[in-house]
Symmetry: C2
Subunit: 609 residues, 2 copies
């Protein structure tokens, strides 16, 4: 349908067929405008999309200089596409293909005007960090979590500025409108917690030099030798990583009726199910409102970051014997059980995939000695014993260390506790007649024996919780496929599991041998300066990772043809990756919450293409 | 040949056929002994191996209680096997299969008596760490590298005891007979450097509590509340990780003539070439004396650990501009060029595989601020600038970060310098008529574009060094295959490379997603307590890693049938892994130096089996 357009071209009064080299117009000015307007309609019908048209009128002749598909906001794009279906210009399928799936995220969260627009107004970012959690926010600078809470209580909107964050800062992160850190990568504490809280966040802003004593922050390369102080205004764009001085206009999130219509068309067409990440009952409720067909990934470790739970988790990890440990694990079990009940209820019988704890254990521990004293007291141990226990958890490469099922099988009681919480929560719900579809996900599987061992633990717990076998709810076991070895043993794993969840982030880390947190040292140079790499493999599924996924499915389905498989992680929200998932025949994609509508649309587009 | 042996059995005078249930002996005592001696010879011939025989004589009747293949030292095993060939009892092939390839390492380095023997004498280890570098040593405790040098100069044998080591300790490690650290894993600084120096070393002895101020070390769980002091005697067994108080008898390394004979038989039979790791000219000369057919892995980064070179390396890494950096790189180039010339000369035209720098850059940097002042001065920069530059090199998971070709392509001049040093060294040698076979190895390849870019750099350097193309020496380019993605793109890589070197350590790390330095948190529990894993995959090639290697070869040979491939890393010295390499059809194995004779034997055994 699309053809090359000759420019400039003189127009006759009345519509000229596009592609016709020349035409003349001899008419009055009003007639000239009418001719252009008619021609525009012809062009839009020809290209099937709104056009930006540049023209000139000389000596009464209108000349068309340029025509191109009009740029528009996501908002406008959705409206135009739906309108054009009403007008009969486009089919529903064409309308679905017309909207950029990546742009929908914009609709659903606060944002700043485009940088080009800001630049035109003379506004440039002060510094740029990593876009750790999308959205935009303005507020007054505070340097301390307690201050954030205090100022917010007084009605101030605040931005928490920290060298990095740790579990001690979570109450401050909750109180702030946004968070910015000087260090850390896309999976740093600040990034992970902010995404979980839905807070806008910029991390790894290397240019920030923060002086916590003086309560100032100086920005290298900003051209200003003057430091910003506590109380000064700052604006963050968590979608681009830009940080600005002052309070910029933040555009609130919007929903349009047309979006619901477009989404309903997408949902009719797409084959893959659209799941959302949700780590809390609140997030599960939000997921449902965003059209999630289930929770594809509930990261249980994130439930431990609240202050009281964190303390219990630390005590459990640093306890030197099973008796002490089990007391604190019991506290955690109570909390998780309550959370799970709420999540099951929120999802009203839709699948809820709960991943067993998966985070390097050292990340739960405090950075310095101070909080260890309270832990030692609570455990009735000497400070030195607790310090040594903490020291034993330190790792050289924590992302590839003692985490996931490795921790679950070697820290006595840890996974038992989580499985008990899940099954008791399911029982609590079914006792009240509420439907539950529980999917237990095992992270960091490298060996079949790990899954065997875990199934044995699960069966033991099941016997504890249910006196006799129950058919009141569904409980399926699945493996995270995030290590190349797991791909290779997919046939064996399929004997023990009902579903696979590809962990895109970790499978990329291990297949490429690139720590995501450290990738910023060279990947940007590879992409932008050396031309060695076209796209960020942590955003767009790498073709070779996709090849491994294909091999995995082939091996697994040879053993269990009805095995369910899907993609989790940040790539689950990327349209290009979703297209690969469709090609591979995956059954679901699981996207971070704000990207879910885009993922549903991308799944439909992939089906159509 | 082997059959079940009935015990006890009474013997007739004269040889009885094994397997015969009963026999009687009526004879005098001397006749009884003679009967037993004859029977022994029959058994040894039956089992084709030396027998340990237990017997009793009651009422003039000799009763055989038990017979089993005799345990013996490696020394004795080699001698017995060779003797049995001379006596015509065994063929050469049978003799080769008779000796445990793993045991040869014992012959070539100092060792302690077996622990069972020590236990019988009431000697138990004080504590156990990781066996980081084999051999055994006794000496007086020192806590500081400078003290080690001073005491050694005074004729003392010393053991350097450190919390961990860094580049500042190397002169002390050289002066000491052995090194023990409280922290660190098998690839920690202490472990890597000690293996390079051929020093016995135990790392990660978590039980050691070292007080550097008081110059004492206390051992947890030793039952003694008394600390050891500077000057006290200590003995290390780097092959088992055992640490003992006092000076135990260290059995010196031995070579036996029979070993040379056995090795010559092995060399006639094996198909795979036997290369050695050698990072220094001394090591290259030693490799030759151990029968290396070439240097399979020269780790150039280890050449930077000497104090003056380390300073230049730090200056190069922390320089903020190309001009400053290139000055320090030039210093390193001179040093590397001299080393390479010596290595080429030592190897007399045999292949020398030089790996471009491959180590997380942060590992070259000092742990604390103090050494940065001298660097700042040398670079004519402010301390703060240098500190910030150092900070930028810190990584969350350094083993999966900015290392290998990633550093080579993004730190301007770094790989150019190394390639220049190699080619100039080759020119220096060929100018004098010395033959050179240079193989340039690119580490951490994940993308074909990396190899393309590196080949472009190499061609540029080649034009700098040689005015016109030379055929005076061979220069081949190879890729380390140590990331699963490299396995998958093997076909593409084979278009640009002449050989592949499988990096067993890293390929295991990435395929299994296990950081080797952190594996001790759970792998021992998996193996010893939970029965989830039969063998340590860092010692024995994992079957799935082997599968990936097989896939790699298939893809590569489809493109380049004459591609040469081999295995490097610690598994290169493991007989079980070498058997897998034979099955896969690899062309060479590259073993750590002390394991080379064992590797040559294992290669012959694999060929025979």
């Amino acid at each position: 349908m699309r053809g090359s357009l000759p420019t400039p071209v003189a127009l006759t009064a009345g519509a000229a067929a596009p592609g016709k080299e020349e035409a003349t117009l001899e008419a009055s000015l009003p007639e000239a405008f009418e001719a252009i307007s008619d021609y525009c309609a012809t062009l839009e019908s020809h290209f099937g999309d709104m056009q930006d048209i540049e023209f000139t009128i000389e000596d009464g002749h209108p000349y068309l200089l340029q025509a191109r598909t009009a740029k528009r906001t996501a908002h406008a794009a959705v409206r135009v596409a739906v309108d054009m279906v009403s007008e009969g210009v486009l089919t529903k399928e064409e309308a679905l293909l017309r909207v950029d799936a990546r742009s929908l995220e914009q609709l659903l969260q606060a944002r700043l005007p485009a940088q080009a627009e800001l630049s035109a107004r003379g506004i440039e970012p002060l510094t740029v960090g990593l876009p750790a959690s999308p959205g935009a926010a303005s507020g007054r600078i505070v340097f301390d979590a307690d201050d954030a809470v205090r100022w917010a209580a007084e009605g101030q909107e605040v931005i928490l500025v920290r060298p990095e964050t740790s579990a001690e800062d979570i109450h401050g992160m909750k109180a702030a409108k946004g968070v910015v850190t000087a260090t850390g990568g896309m999976t740093s504490h600040a990034a992970v917690v902010a995404r979980g809280l839905g807070k806008c966040c910029v991390v790894g802003s290397g240019g920030l030099r923060i002086d916590l004593q003086k309560r100032t922050v100086h920005v290298d390369g900003s051209g200003s030798s003057e430091a910003l102080r506590e109380g000064d205004l700052l604006t963050l764009d968590g979608s681009t990583g830009h940080v600005y001085t002052g309070a910029l206009d933040v555009i609130a999130s919007t929903t349009v009726d047309e979006l619901h219509k477009l989404m309903s068309w997408a949902d009719q067409i797409r084959r893959m199910r659209g799941y959302a990440e949700a780590d809390t009952p609140q997030a599960a409720r939000a997921a449902l409102s965003y059209g999630a067909e289930g929770v594809g990934l509930c990261r249980t470790e994130r439930m431990f970051f609240a202050q009281d739970r964190l303390f219990a988790m630390r005590c459990a990890l640093l306890a030197v014997d099973d008796e002490r440990r089990s007391r604190w694990l019991m506290e955690l079990e109570r909390a998780q059980r309550d959370d799970f009940v709420e999540i099951f209820q929120a999802m009203e019988g839709r699948p809820v995939t709960i991943r067993l704890l998966d985070r390097a254990l050292e990340e739960f521990l405090p950075q310095d000695e101070e909080p260890l004293q309270a832990i030692a007291k609570a455990l009735d141990l000497e400070l030195e014993e607790v310090s040594k226990a903490a020291e034993r958890h330190r790792e050289s490469n924590p992302a590839f260390g003692h985490r996931g099922v490795r921790a679950g099988l070697t820290v006595p009681g840890l996974y038992d506790m989580q499985l008990r919480a899940m099954l008791f929560a399911a029982r609590d719900c079914t006792d009240r007649g509420a439907p539950v579809e529980l999917e237990v996900l095992i992270p960091m599987v490298a060996f079949t024996s790990e899954v065997e061992a875990l199934c044995a633990v699960l069966n033991g717990v099941r016997r504890q919780v249910f006196a006799e076998p129950t058919s009141l709810f569904t409980c399926r076991v699945g493996a995270m496929i995030e290590l190349p070895r797991a791909c290779l043993i997919a046939g064996e794993l399929a004997q023990y599991t009902h579903f696979f969840s590809f962990g895109g982030n970790d499978l990329t880390q291990t297949t490429l041998g690139i720590s995501r947190d450290d990738a910023s040292r060279f990947l940007p140079t590879y992409m932008n300066n050396l031309g060695l790499l076209a796209r960020d493999p942590f955003t767009h599924l790498d073709e070779r990772v996709a090849e491994l996924m294909g091999m995995t499915l082939e091996r697994a389905k040879a053993v269990r043809p009805d095995l369910i498989a899907g993609l989790c992680g940040d790539q689950g929200g990327s349209p290009a990756s979703i297209a690969i998932c469709e090609r591979l025949g995956l059954d679901f994609v699981c996207a971070p919450l704000p990207q879910l509508p885009g993922a549903r649309l991308a799944a439909a587009q992939a089906r159509l293409r």
